[in-house]
């Protein structure tokens, strides 16, 4: 056996360690990359969450024109409650519009939630049986989508939107959208 071949086991060990290190430093396996980035917001025709007793207006995908953050939430979702204060803060601080999708929820409880915790949403789409959720590739609330002016999905977040996610992920995207909107708007005056 040559001297060099004595190092084969060590080399194999180092290679395996490197592969495992890379593999385990990948993102959380629960974070699926969204298949919908760059795609138009799916078509839908659903009722909006109305005030108690009043008739519900219908909303469609044409009502979702950005820049707007579409937030999938439900009263049965504890993480949504944790996230709610941050959504209110984002709306107050940056003026970013937020549209809610009330996902597989009870409308009466949803109204109560908004009355008690505050309402950052421009309006809420009532997705009672989760069909819009399936079209959006939602697999658990909360999820948030950033939509540009043409109604295209530019960013998706699975899990809560917190300060760090806002600062590091969503805000940069919003700034890019604002810049391109300014550039597009300038020639027309």
């Amino acid at each position: 056996m040559s001297r060099a071949s004595l190092f084969i086991p060590l080399t194999a060990f180092v290679v395996i360690v490197a592969l495992l290190y890379a593999g385990f430093s990948l993102n959380d396996p629960h974070q699926l990359p969204s298949a919908l980035i760059g795609k138009p917001f799916p078509t839908f025709d659903l009722p909006a969450l109305s005030a108690e007793g009043s008739a519900a207006a219908r909303v469609t995908q044409s009502d979702i024109r950005g820049p707007v953050l579409v937030n999938v939430w439900a009263t049965w979702c504890p993480t949504c409650r944790a996230e709610h204060a941050e959504l209110l803060r984002i709306h107050d601080e940056s003026g970013l519009r937020i549209i809610g999708i009330n996902y597989k929820d009870n409308p009466a409880q949803a109204r109560l939630w908004l009355a008690q915790l505050g309402n950052p949403y421009e309006f809420n789409v009532v997705d009672a049986d989760g069909t819009l959720g399936v079209d959006l590739g939602v697999y658990g609330a909360p999820e948030s989508f950033l939509i540009d002016a043409s109604g295209t999905i530019v960013y998706k977040r699975v899990g809560d939107v917190n300060r760090r996610v806002w600062q590091e992920e969503i805000k940069p995207h919003v700034d890019v959208l604002a810049k391109s909107a300014a550039a597009a708007g300038a020639p027309h005056g």
Binding site: L32, P33, G140
Partner: protein, 162 residues
Amino acid sequence: MVEPRIATLLLMLALLVVPLRAGAEGAIEAFQFDDATQEARYRALTEEFRCPKCLNTNLAGSDAPIAADLRSTVHRLILEGATDQAIRDFLQARYGDFVLYDPPLRRDTLLLWLAPALLLAVGLAMVVVMVRRRRGIAEPLSEVERAQLDELLRDSPEKDAK
């Protein structure tokens, strides 16, 4: 003496198989189909896709609410007359490659698909090298070596005799 051993082996094999079957029949819903073909397709499709919420359970075996939603979506699409491939495309367009247990063959998945063949090739090469090396030890003796051996063999009985 052999029979108990075989019985133990069979029991171990049975234990390996049982949990898989139990997992596959975790969720039961009463869906109506027009015919048995549709029902068979529904079963095959829900076994084929991975539940997006769970790391390693298929749609048929998962109790997650999203898996129930996707089962009813598959049911609806079948009744609407969608082909199996159309249903695959529908789910992949929304949930990505994650829901497919067989990743599609693309440039970025090429290594994934070729890795088993590459590893097999490396393994075979190692076997070939080892066999060659071992055969090298048992190489036929050269003329000189044969003469030496004969001499030794001729000598030894005399030594023993002494």
